[in-house]
């Protein structure tokens, strides 16, 4: 066992200022080349841990097409690197639970208010942040304030946000600006175990731990006026960014299915360089059943963010009365496998810590955004900027319509804690006028801004590379951490 991760010297070719390729000849078991979207500085950062060996492992999986890709925020994970994108032919390729990850449909939702930061004032802002922290449970195992019977949970899994609309927890117009309208029709709750329902069923409407958060933010800069106008965003506007996923339910679905896939790989003649990449042919009974279960967990995650939206709306209504409406700008996943048509081929596109970014002409881009492209929401690390971008038509051919998902960690939690304690992180944020609500000083230290890459640089790479277009930069006013 080696304490220091080592990256073997790999042959690589810089194709342009923002893209590096590792040729298919780098390892005899690779089926396609690997591509990393990064400028020179990010490339050096990405090369330091096990991101590249993990990406090359992905390039060996059956049915992979084009290239295995890493986004500029990529870092080592467990199996797929975080920030990884891989597309597999549906007809003869695989689907991998580890390629989606344990937090199925971890994603981001942006809510736009109708007020500006100055209108709120400090005192009212503090009240809103406090009320949000009180109304939205945080922490990993923290349960929901909402109560759902078991039959309700099955409907959440099968129908996602459309069921929440039926229950009065979503507005009809919300569904128009959520990826897949917040409801994946192929979801199959039968593939979700009773253990998964038991572990996470009571957590709908809660944030969870780690890097998940709800932030009250201010639109600081608009880069693209036309797109911002289409999204209903303007400078100084107060917005809410929600970053969370499928909680314990999704974690258990992935645990169950990694175990199941691991057991059937030999029967399918699949050999892997890493068991965590456990997979099965997409068209096999196991592949289809996992896909249905994953989509059910994804519906749970969309619904989780919807339930948080409901709670946030109540908070804004209490604070601002009729002026407290919050509109869903968009909701997008960054841990997901989707069946998508690319050219003449149906592909199972795995995005593990990567965001779908379809352009204006893609049929899945919401009607309201057909002039500008699908919104892409990039949460910064706690206390740093977040971004709104839009997808490009060009990106479909470059990265299967994918882009980064955040700043990307640059150092371990232990290393981050050595630099600043939780109370020091809290003070540094408060000195910048940011209101912080987080019960755990340890988590604050682990998620400190210095633990992450420079989000501005990461976003600049995807903008320059043409994978997505910058629209607006958001800065935090208040942070509620899981």
């Amino acid at each position: 066992m080696n304490e220091t991760p080592t990256t073997p010297t790999l042959p690589s070719v810089r194709l342009n200022a923002n893209l590096v390729e590792i040729p298919v000849s780098a390892r005899p078991d690779m089926r396609v080349p690997a591509r990393v979207w990064a400028d020179e500085e990010l490339w050096q950062q990405i090369s330091r841990d096990r991101t590249l060996p993990q990406l090359l492992n992905v390039a060996t999986l059956p049915g992979i097409t084009g290239s295995a890709q890493a986004m500029p925020d990529a870092h080592e994970g467990y199996g797929f690197p975080v920030g990884g994108v891989a597309a597999f032919r549906a007809r003869d390729g695989v689907i991998s639970p580890g390629g989606v990850g344990y937090d199925i449909n971890c994603g981001v939702r942006l809510l736009a208010s109708e007020v500006e930061a100055a209108e709120l004032g400090r005192s009212r802002l503090e009240g809103i942040v406090h009320d949000l922290a009180r109304s939205i449970p945080s922490g990993m195992g923290q349960g929901s304030h909402l109560r759902f019977a078991k039959t309700d949970l099955d409907r959440v899994l099968a129908e996602g946000c459309s069921y929440l609309a039926e229950r009065g927890l979503a507005l009809p117009e919300d569904l128009k600006t959520i990826e897949a309208q917040g409801s994946l029709a192929v979801a199959d709750p039968a593939g979700v175990s009773e253990r998964a329902k038991h572990r996470g069923g009571g957590q709908l409407g809660s944030i969870g731990s780690g890097n998940h958060f709800v932030e009250v933010q201010r639109v600081e800069t608009v880069f693209d006026l036309e797109a911002a106008e289409a999204l209903g965003l303007w400078v100084e506007q107060v917005v809410i960014l929600v970053h969370t996923g499928s909680r314990g339910l999704g974690h258990q679905v992935c645990t169950d299915w990694v175990r199941s896939m691991d057991a059937v790989m030999a029967r399918h003649g699949i050999q892997l360089p890493d068991r965590e990449l456990a997979c099965a042919p997409f068209e096999s009974p196991e592949g289809k059943k996992y896909f249905g279960a994953m989509c059910a967990a994804a519906n749970f995650a969309f619904s989780n963010r919807q339930a948080i939206t409901y709670a946030a709306r109540e908070v804004f209504r209490r604070a601002l009365g009729n002026g407290g409406h919050l509109r869903v700008v968009y909701d997008v996943a960054h841990n997901m496998a989707k069946l998508e048509r690319h050219g003449e081929e149906d592909l199972v596109v795995h995005r593990k810590g990567a965001t779908r970014a379809f352009g204006p002409s893609h049929p899945e881009t919401p009607e309201a955004y057909r002039r500008i492209g699908q919104p892409v929401l990039i949460p910064g690390s706690m206390g740093t900027a977040s971004y709104v971008l839009v997808g490009t038509d060009e990106g479909l051919g470059l990265s299967f319509g994918s882009t980064c998902h955040g700043a990307g960690r640059a150092m371990s939690r232990r290393a981050a804690k050595k630099i600043q304690s939780g109370s020091e992180v809290r003070k540094a944020l408060e000195d910048r006028g940011i209101i912080v609500r987080c019960a755990s000083a340890g988590e604050l230290a682990e998620e400190a801004p210095h633990a992450y890459k420079d989000v501005d640089r990461v976003v600049e790479v995807v903008h320059q590379a043409g994978l997505a277009r910058k629209v607006a930069r958001l800065v935090p006013l208040g942070v509620i951490k899981g």
Partner: protein
């Protein structure tokens, strides 16, 4: 070999190295390490009656991961963090032990799952060693 464990740096996750004389000892030490991690520095004084945990798997690597995931499941769903383990059965495909734990008010934070990534249970220095990455 006395049982031991240590946490090593990983950019985004949590990585455990663990060693013991036997497979049972390895499972007990890995379980104890995970329990202490879940408690995040809170007192690890077991209380209440012991209970039995058991898992069966295809091989000893999967067995260790399944054992740790069972501990996570119990901790999160029963608000009870296992910290003391007495293994009664430890074959390469089955672990069974009597476990004592710490009741907690909130489901413990941090860990989503133990993973199979790069996992090998290796015979070294007169005992067994393993390295497990947890998704956090």
């Amino acid at each position: 070999m006395s049982p031991w464990h240590r946490w090593v740096d990983h950019t985004s996750e949590v990585q455990l190295q663990v060693g013991a004389e036997s497979l049972g000892g390895l499972a007990a030490e890995a379980g104890r390490a995970l329990g202490l991690l879940l408690l995040r520095g809170a007192a690890a004084e077991p209380a209440g009656p012991p209970r039995e945990l058991a898992v069966s798997s295809a091989d000893r690597e999967a067995l260790l991961v399944d054992w740790l995931n069972e501990i996570l499941f119990v901790a999160e769903t029963e608000l009870w963090v296992p910290v003391e383990f007495e293994l009664r059965e430890a074959s390469p495909i089955r672990l069974r032990g009597v476990v004592r734990g710490v009741p907690v008010e909130d489901a413990p934070s941090i860990v989503k799952a133990a993973t199979l990534h790069g996992l090998q249970v290796e015979e070294r220095e007169g005992g067994l060693q393993a390295e497990v990455i947890f998704d956090v």
